[in-house]
């Protein structure tokens, strides 16, 4: 595709439910990143994929958060047993490799009620 695509754009979920957020990176981009942006805050790094493996998961805030990537393409970020503090915009970015510019998607706005 022309850019990084994320779905859904918006997600409202009840506290305690699991959610899955999807990222379709730019075709051919081997590096993929997930960030979280809380209201009025900067972006927090969550996880980095190189191909299908994740050499850096250091930003995942708890074991309720997990992510996978398949086919060196689509990535899914899963949040289990969602809490209100998980409410944020989740942004995905991809780059040709780890040394080149990262392009961001438009984000998924998650609201936990």
């Amino acid at each position: 595709g022309a850019g990084v695509s994320q779905s859904p754009s918006n997600k409202v979920t009840e506290k305690g439910k699991d959610v899955e957020l999807r990222c379709d990176p730019i075709s051919g981009h081997t590096a993929l990143y997930w960030y979280r942006q809380r209201l009025g805050q900067g972006l927090e790094f969550l996880i980095y994929f190189q191909g299908n493996s994740a050499p850096d998961k250091s930003g995942l805030p708890s074991d309720r958060f997990s992510a996978e990537r398949t086919g060196e393409s689509v990535s899914t970020l899963t949040i289990q047993r969602t809490q209100q503090e998980d409410s944020a915009v989740y942004l995905c970015a991809s780059s040709v490799d780890r040394n080149t510019e990262a392009f961001f998607g438009q984000g998924t706005r998650l609201t936990v009620v």
Partner: protein
Amino acid sequence: QQQVKQSPQSLIVQKGGISIINCAYENTAFDYFPWYQQFPGKGPALLIAIRPDVSEKKEGRFTISFNKSAKQFSLHIMDSQPGDSATYFCAASPSGEQGAQKLVFGQGTRLTINP
């Protein structure tokens, strides 16, 4: 050590004026310093970036000034236009095996250019 501190939080500039946003960092392993522009409802877009081997980089109306000894860098927007109104984020990342793009972001500056 991983923080990047950005100021001001918000900035109002008259059309045609110069907008200046500042960032400071602690981690000397950082060697890539990009600035991102974000419009409401959109993801951040890379505006301009610098590495520490130069003290200044200019692209059109946008200039990054970098002071390695002070561990500070700033974005200058010359002849600011209403279309420049957006939130600007500075960021920094270290090189190395863990990913050159593991960006550490500043808190953001909401810039408003008055017509």
